[in-house]
Structure formats: C-alpha cells, structure tokens
C-alpha cells in the first residue's frame, strides 16, 4: 500500500499497463517530454522510451483518430486530451469512428482505446477550461464513460479502462487531483495522504467499470453523484444532519442501476447532483430511470442540483459551482416535501 494523490494513481495505472503489455502506448500534448500539464504521465517517457510515450502536435482530431487506427491494428492506446474542453475537435472521431467501429464491422475491428481528460470546474478556468461534458458521451451508444472520485478508484478504473476492449472516456475531476475537494473553496485543501481512499495498493488491480460505491450509508435520502460532487454531497450531509445515502456512481455508462434502485427503494427520496449544465445533463437520465424503476417507492419529487444553463462563468465561479450550501438546501427541501 502507498499513499498517492489522484495524479500519482493515474500515472501508476499507466505505468503498470505499459509494463505488462507492450501494446499499450501513451500520448498527447506535452505528455511525453514534459510528463503532462497535470503531471499524470511523469517519467513514462524516460522509462518506456519515446516510442511508447510521446508528444503530439496540438491536433485533437488527429490524436483520437490515430489512436483508433492503432487500436484497430492491435495496439491499446491511452491518450490524453489536455482538458475535456479541448475534445470538441475530436468529437467527430469519438462519435462517428471510435463508438461505431465495433458495431459496423461486426466486431472485426474494435476500438480499445482510453481517452483521458481532466474535467470540471473550480479552478477559475472560465468557459473553455471548466466544462463537464460527460452527458455528450453518455448520449452516444458505443462508448463507456467513467469518472473516478479518489486515488484508489482512479488507479483501478484506469487499469480496467485500458484493458477494456471498448473505447472508454475516462474523465478526471481536476479539482480532485490533489485532495478530496468538497466545495469549501475558502478552506485549505485536505491532501489525499490524509484520506483513506488515498491509500492505493501496489501493482495490478482493477475496479470494474459499471459498479457504484456507497460512500455514506443513510436512510433519509439517496444522493446520486460522481466526481467532485461526491465529496460535496458528503459535506452537505454532515453539515445539514440529513441522513443521506451518498452513492458514487463512478461509471455512468455502464450504469449500476441495481445499487441505485436498492437505495431509493430504501430511502424513498432522491437528490441528483452534477456540475454540468442542467438541461439534458446526465441527471435527467438518472431522474427518468429512478422515476421508472422506483416510482412506487418515491415519497417526494426528485431534486436536481446542477450547474446553471449558462456558459461556465469567469466571475462568480462559486455561485455557479453547486457547492455544499446548495446541495444541503436540496437535502432539506426533499425532506420537507411529500
């Protein structure tokens, strides 16, 4: 066991995969020589050489497209898009090629690539460095979309993603890289070394894609969250005293519907939290599923706490960001309604 930040866990996962399988290649902008802007590939080029870990020019479409071709010919690329906000030039390749190759070739060809991208706000990045585009991937059949919330999962899920034969969008909540940020931006950040999920086993292990984790057991209300919002929800539960069951979805496609159903059937109430904009956000899908599967268990209307339907702002970031105060308000609200 070792204490790691999420950055170190992500690096370690790639290291282990490269060590075990020489078909794994790692590349992206500033990924090789520099070790990544967030340092998630630090030392990999030195260890495995520029053949296997390398820099690309600034051309996201080329990065993803080339990775798909490599995958079709037997390699297992793990590429980095420097910020999720830069993936739009590659979106065509992701949607029209990566997601569809297996189906339209009757699995003659697969796209076993992993696309890592830092996601989410809280770093004053404004509209082009703060977005949470997970719903844009979840909407596309043929992709897996996962979002770890701690170093333990980050490593196990990245290894599982790289070893998966499907294209996996692996979103890294950048505000969690160095600690479990709970939305209290004015407070000093707790480092992962002081958190039990900063404890990461050495060597190879996987966290299966499609399994949720209950981070806090509770009986009053189910909170569905992923990424940074898991920690925000935990803080909101403590601060309001509402006995919330906080579920960390970890993977939105595939989705662990069984865990969600069991919890809502128990609590009868549900709050859904994400940073992304509200309309057609993944919360809408969750609400539809819960309404369908748990209709007769629900004792109150579900509530969504999300980013607003505006571009991510430069000023007023902390009003936009769904912090513990807003989540707490929603918890109290669903407890009052019947």
């Amino acid at each position: 066991m070792a204490r790691m930040t999420m950055i170190e866990a992500i690096r370690d996962a790639q290291d282990i995969c490269m060590e075990r399988d020489d078909k794994v290649v790692v590349f992206g902008q500033d990924v090789g020589y520099f070790g990544g802007v967030f340092r998630c590939t630090k030392g990999l080029q030195e260890k495995y050489g520029p053949q296997r870990c390398f820099d690309t020019p600034i051309n996201e479409s080329g990065i993803v497209g080339a990775a798909i071709g490599m995958g079709a010919y037997g390699l297992r690329p793990c590429v980095e898009i420097q910020f999720a906000d830069y993936m739009y030039p590659a979106y065509d390749q992701i949607v029209s090629e990566a997601a569809r190759l297996r189906h339209r070739s009757n699995k003659d060809f697969i796209a076993p690539l992993t696309i890592r991208m830092p996601t989410g706000g809280g770093i004053f990045g404004g509209q082009t460095h703060s977005q949470s585009p997970e719903a844009l991937f979840a909407h596309v059949s043929g992709l897996k979309t996962v979002i770890p919330s701690n170093p333990y999962d980050a490593k196990g899920m990245l290894i599982a993603s790289i070893e998966d034969d499907d294209p996996v969008i692996y979103l890294e909540p950048k505000r969690l890289y160095n600690g479990p940020f709970d939305g209290h931006h004015e407070a000093a950040i707790t480092p992962w070394s002081k958190h039990e999920l900063g404890e990461v086993p050495e060597g190879h292990y996987t966290v299966p894609l499609g399994s949720a984790a209950i981070r806090r057991a509770g009986s009053d209300v189910t909170v569905l969250a992923y990424g940074t919002m898991v920690h925000v929800a935990l803080a909101a539960a403590e601060e309001t005293g509402v006995d919330a069951e906080v579920i960390d979805l970890r993977s939105i496609v595939p989705l662990d519907l069984e865990t969600i159903k069991a919890s809502v059937e128990k609590t009868g109430r549900c709050v859904i939290v994400h940073e992304a904009t509200r309309t057609c956000g993944f919360g809408a899908e969750l609400a539809a599923l819960v309404a369908h599967h748990c209709f007769y268990s629900l004792e109150a209307p579900m509530v969504r706490v999300t980013g607003y339907d505006t571009p991510y702002p430069h000023a007023h970031e902390w009003d936009y960001f769904p912090g513990p105060a807003r989540v707490g308000k929603a918890l109290l609200h669903v407890m009052e309604t019947e």
């Binding site: 520099f34 906000d85 030039p89 004053f124 082009t128 607003y308 430069h314 000023a315 009003d319």
Partner: protein, 364 residues
C-alpha cells in the same frame, strides 16, 4: 544594424536559428504562387517611432502589472502574458486601416491594447469585474470589442482561424476594402482547421492576413518537436498561399512587412501568410516550470533582441533624449497603475448577469 532590408530567400536550413533570424524571407518562386517581393524595413519618423515605443512599453508594463495582480490573487485561473512579442501587434496594427478587423487566441492583452482599447477595461476584465470589457464574463482569454474591430480573445487553440476567414469573407462581401488579420501561434498552426481555412481563403481569394506568432514554443513543446515543416511561413504553399518570415522582434521590420502585406491583399490577390519570428519571455501561463528551455536562452533573447530596447536605441540615435523617454515611461506607469486600481476597486457583475446574453431572449 538599423539599415538593411529584404534579403534574398536562403535555402531552407533544417535547423532553426533562434538568435539571429534573417529580417525577411519569402516563399520561393514556384509555378502557381504569385511571387511577392521581400519588403523593406519601414522608415519611421521620430514621432512615429515614439508612438510605437509608447505602445510597446504600455503593453509590457500592463503585462508586468497583470502578473503582479495575479501573484496577489486578484486575477485567477489562466493569464497568458505577451511580454517579448510586443513589436508584432504594434507594428501590424499601425499598418491597418479603420475598417480592418483583428482576431486572435487567448494571449490577447497586447492585441487589445494595440487596437486602442483602454487599459482600464482590459485589466478590469482580468479581475472579473462588471466594468471589464466583457462585463467580467470572459476573463483574460475571452475579450471582445466591436467598436475597436477586435473580434476576440478565443481560448480554444486555432478556433479563431476559421472565424478570421469568415470575417474576411464578410469584408469582401460588403466590399468595404477591409482585411481580417488572423493571429495564431506556432502550436496552433498544427490544428486541422487552419488548413481548412487556408484552402477556403485561397479558393475564394479572401482578404485575410494570417499571422503566425512563432514564439518558438507551444507550452512546453518547441516548434521542431511538433512540426514536420517547421518553416511555418511555408505552410500555405500547397494551398498556393504566399508566405513571408519576418523578424518579429523589430517593430520597423514588422511594419514594413505589414505595409507590403496589406497592399498585396487589398489589391485582390487573396490571402497571405506571415510568420513572425518572436519570443515569449514569461511562462506559457502563470504556472510554468519552464523545464523545456534554459534560462540562458531567455536571457540571450532579452539582452540581444528585445524589441523595446531596440526601439529605444534607435530613438536616441534620432535625437530623442533619455529624459524624454523617462517622462513617457512615467505617463505609462501612471496609466497602468490607474488601470490596476480601477480593476481592483470596481465591483463584480451582479449575479443575474450570468443569465444574460446566453440567447437573445431569456427562457426558463
């Protein structure tokens, strides 16, 4: 040293020379390319050069101040300083006409000041205030001013290149004799949409000047490590777009090239590409460990090729006095300090501003 003009195009050397680029190089004559002559250095009057010097110094002092405010926590997130590259925008802007338009990426503070946008409203945008030029909604990377012909301020690398091409289309469509100057970086030059733009621009003979600000690095990646054809002024050749490489560290070389370029474009010959050889002194954004280059390399450029120092030497030769330049410096410092005070004191936008201008109306 201050004379000199266009040199004959040299044979393409594989290794890039960082310290002493030739003043101007142009695409080699080739069937299908409309030959362009290497322009000479602009012969400025003392008044003109004083004005160039003032503008360059204003950008530098503004950027230094922005760096300080960032250090104090008044500016957050991303902030890309233009220090070292001042001659490029000042020289080109001085060659433009009233109706021309300008568009660039996220390293945009200098472009805005060169367009004549007051320092106060740029600084207030950096601090995210209501009085900022984008009402605090855009921040450092996303600023705009129709009034000054400045079309942004774009955070996504190279996204502005097709936009600039569209601006040029609109200039031509309206017949206003305007040219769209479209700036982008050496790193941006590798995005696919740049080449989609080149093709359309030449196909439709659009009045666009593409300016690659080659400051040698895209974040931590040097040009040679990311570009197969690292002589970026030749990147348009397969689209039949003529290119020139210009010493972007000399405001008069830049202006000379600008005059030639705008004349050429306004005569209806279509787009043109200029690679400005320049250098950024500071990190890419505010946190940059600078592992990718040596301190000596930076010092070397600063001491030997600084555009502001060069203009100063020339001004003194032309009869300007040290005292006169000191006086100018004082005025600039006062302007920048005033901008910083304003940016610190003026209020944030109201919260409801987040909802305005998402769409024409408001819904929901």
């Amino acid at each position: 040293m201050h004379k000199g003009c266009g040199m004959a195009p040299k044979k393409a050397a594989r290794k890039q020379t960082k310290t002493e680029p030739s003043r101007v190089r142009v695409s080699e004559a080739r069937p299908g390319l409309d030959p362009i002559e290497a322009p000479g250095r602009y012969e400025a009057t003392r008044e003109e050069l004083t004005e160039f010097y003032r503008q360059m110094l204003l950008i530098r002092r503004f950027e230094e101040k922005a760096g300080q405010l960032y250090g104090m926590g008044l500016i957050g997130g991303f902030c890309h300083l233009y220090i070292g590259q001042e001659a490029v925008v000042v020289g080109l802007q001085s060659a433009m006409k009233e109706q021309d338009s300008v568009i660039t990426g996220y390293r945009d503070h200098g472009h805005m000041l060169a367009c004549g946008i007051p320092a106060k409203v740029v600084m207030a945008e950096l601090t995210g205030r209501a009085a900022g030029i984008s009402k605090g909604k855009g921040g450092s990377m996303h600023m705009f001013s129709v009034e000054h012909g400045f079309y942004g301020g774009h955070g996504i690398v190279a996204a502005q290149v097709p936009l600039g091409t569209g601006l040029a289309f609109a200039h031509k469509y309206k017949g206003d004799d305007g040219v769209a100057t479209t700036y982008f970086g050496d790193g941006a030059a590798n995005q696919g949409q740049v080449y989609e733009s080149f093709n359309m621009a030449e196909l439709w003979k659009l009045p666009v000047l593409y300016v690659i600000e080659n400051n040698q690095y895209a974040m931590g990646t040097s040009v040679n490590r990311a570009s197969a054809e690292h002589e970026l002024f030749r990147r348009g050749e397969s689209f039949r777009i003529e290119g020139m490489q210009v010493n972007g560290m000399d405001v008069l070389d830049v202006r000379g090239a600008g005059d030639a370029a705008y004349d050429w474009i306004r005569s209806g010959k279509g787009p043109l590409l200029i690679e400005m050889m320049t250098y950024r002194y500071r990190g890419h954004s505010m946190s940059d460990p600078a592992k990718y280059r040596s301190r000596d390399e930076v010092t070397d450029v600063r001491t030997k090729r600084d555009p502001i120092e060069a203009a100063k030497v020339l001004l003194l030769e032309m009869g300007e006095t040290e005292d006169g330049l000191k006086e100018l410096e004082k005025i600039i410092r006062a302007e920048v300090n005033e901008a910083a005070d304003f940016a610190e004191q003026t209020p944030e936008p109201e919260l409801k501003e987040l909802y305005t201008d998402v769409l024409v109306g408001s819904y929901g």
